[in-house]
């Protein structure tokens, strides 16, 4: 389904509930009644074209986000990506940690096994956090500098050197190891966890992990299909100018 401005947001979310975290990252609160996407954006001073592009990209892997690229500044995209990161670090991951911790506390048997699971999750969390910090401290500032340089028409030597040594294409490859750990985590719980008295808790943990994985994949896809091409274009412009 192609999501459009004049659709009621409630209808869109009925159709694809995976979009709920997306609207929360835009700061849209529940209780939006019969309002359409356009009306909600106008009331909250959000860029409705940008919200639509993100919603559609998230909703349908075949949506051609690049066609809509030029309509919004890269800063907008980056602030969205940062909101997503905040959501992972401050809400998702701590919540899963809480659930796994509950597992270690409530079961009388196999305490060591659950503790091991917890340690593994902590390790995963650390790695994902490191990856996110790198994006926010290195990648995003670089991208924003590119945008400033293009808007102002002047490129500093330092930036030019950075364009030549670091290219955004390198960045696509950096996602992998973090993904493998999440894959392992799911399999350990699905296949090898010793029986627990609280099966429901395990189901909830698994469910959360699957949601997290899907969300991370969409996040990576937004970076790869919207951010990376846009930055590549800026890199080309700057290189041509030099």
């Amino acid at each position: 389904m192609l999501i459009e401005k004049d659709m009621k947001l409630a209808d869109v979310l009925h159709h694809d509930h995976n979009l709920i975290p997306v609207i929360s990252r835009f700061g849209i609160k529940l209780g939006f009644g019969e309002n359409t996407i356009e009306e909600i954006c106008a009331a909250q001073q959000l860029d409705s074209d940008f919200l639509l592009t993100i919603l559609n990209t998230f909703h349908d892997p075949l949506f051609f986000a690049d066609r809509h690229l030029k309509s919004f500044p890269v800063g907008l995209l980056i602030s969205y990506l940062k909101e997503t990161h905040k959501n992972y670090l401050n809400e998702r991951l701590p919540y899963i940690a809480l659930l796994i911790n509950r597992l270690t506390e409530t079961s009388s048997d196999h305490k060591t096994a659950y503790q091991l699971l917890m340690n593994f999750f902590v390790e995963y969390k650390k790695e994902l956090t490191k990856h996110i910090e790198r994006e926010e401290k290195v990648v995003y500032p670089y991208v924003l500098q590119l945008e400033v340089a293009i808007a102002s028409g002047t490129t500093s030597d330092a930036l030019l050197q950075q364009v030549n040594t670091y290219s955004i294409t390198d960045y696509e490859e950096e996602h992998e190891n973090v993904e493998e750990k999440l894959f392992d985590l799911k399999n350990i719980i699905l296949k090898y966890l010793p029986p627990t008295t609280d099966q429901n808790l395990c189901f909830t943990i698994l469910h959360e992990l699957f949601i997290l994985e899907k969300d991370l994949n969409e996040h990576a896809r937004i970076e790869d299909t919207i951010l990376v091409p846009k930055v590549e274009e800026m890199e080309r412009i700057i290189n041509k100018r030099a």
Partner: protein, 201 residues
């Protein structure tokens, strides 16, 4: 036997191509890697470049080049050539293909047809793959203790290549890719002692 079946589809109409992709996605391990419209320059090279297990062709997509295209593909004995035909397709077209799918059939008839064409080519998940051999367990322990492939090879009198093959098999059997994941597995199953792991370098 192949682990997966890779299909290249030659179909001009988006609707039909999308339909075939949706149908194929119902079968585990079978996927459409690429769709060509049929009018591409050096089509046969492009198609064969994917090293497909199966090529599905709608004759309408390539019209008058059909004969030469089919002839080229027939020189690859390992590739199954499937025509996507309507019930009304003339016999002289049907007979050009080793296999064909009748596009006028319903979903489950089409799936049955596709399964028959695939036959035994698809590797079924082997039974009891979960169980590691003694050698693999020995190797897994070494991995969990933090040893490198070279160190493990020296210790167990194996070549590095063999160590790597074992590691690949362990990952395949357990569905665990990372060293820390493997360590959790080994600890949960008492294959290694937690103190040994904590003492690793």
């Amino acid at each position: 036997m192949a682990k997966t079946i890779k299909i290249v589809l030659i179909e001009q109409a988006f609707l039909l191509a999308a339909g075939i992709e949706s149908l194929v996605s119902e079968l585990h391990g079978v996927f459409v890697e690429q769709v060509y419209h049929g009018s591409e320059h050096s089509l046969t090279d492009k198609v064969l470049g994917h090293k497909p297990d199966m090529i599905i062709i709608n004759p309408h997509a390539i019209e008058n080049q059909l004969l030469s295209v089919i002839k080229t593909f027939q020189q690859e004995p390992d590739i199954k050539l499937v025509g996507l035909l309507s019930t009304k397709a003339p016999d002289n077209i049907k007979s050009r293909f080793a296999y064909y799918l009748n596009r006028d059939e319903g979903k489950f008839d089409l799936l049955e047809g596709l399964k028959k064409i695939i036959g035994n080519d698809l590797e079924k998940p082997a039974k009891k793959t979960r169980i590691l051999s003694n050698r693999e367990i020995e190797l897994l322990k070494q991995v969990c203790l933090g040893h490198t492939n070279q160190e493990i090879a020296d210790k167990l009198f194996l070549s590095v290549h063999t160590v790597m093959t074992h590691r690949k098999n362990i990952t395949k059997k357990l569905g665990i890719k990372t060293v820390s994941g493997l360590t959790v597995y080994a600890l949960m199953n008492n294959l290694v002692d937690i103190r040994e792991v904590e003492n690793r370098g």
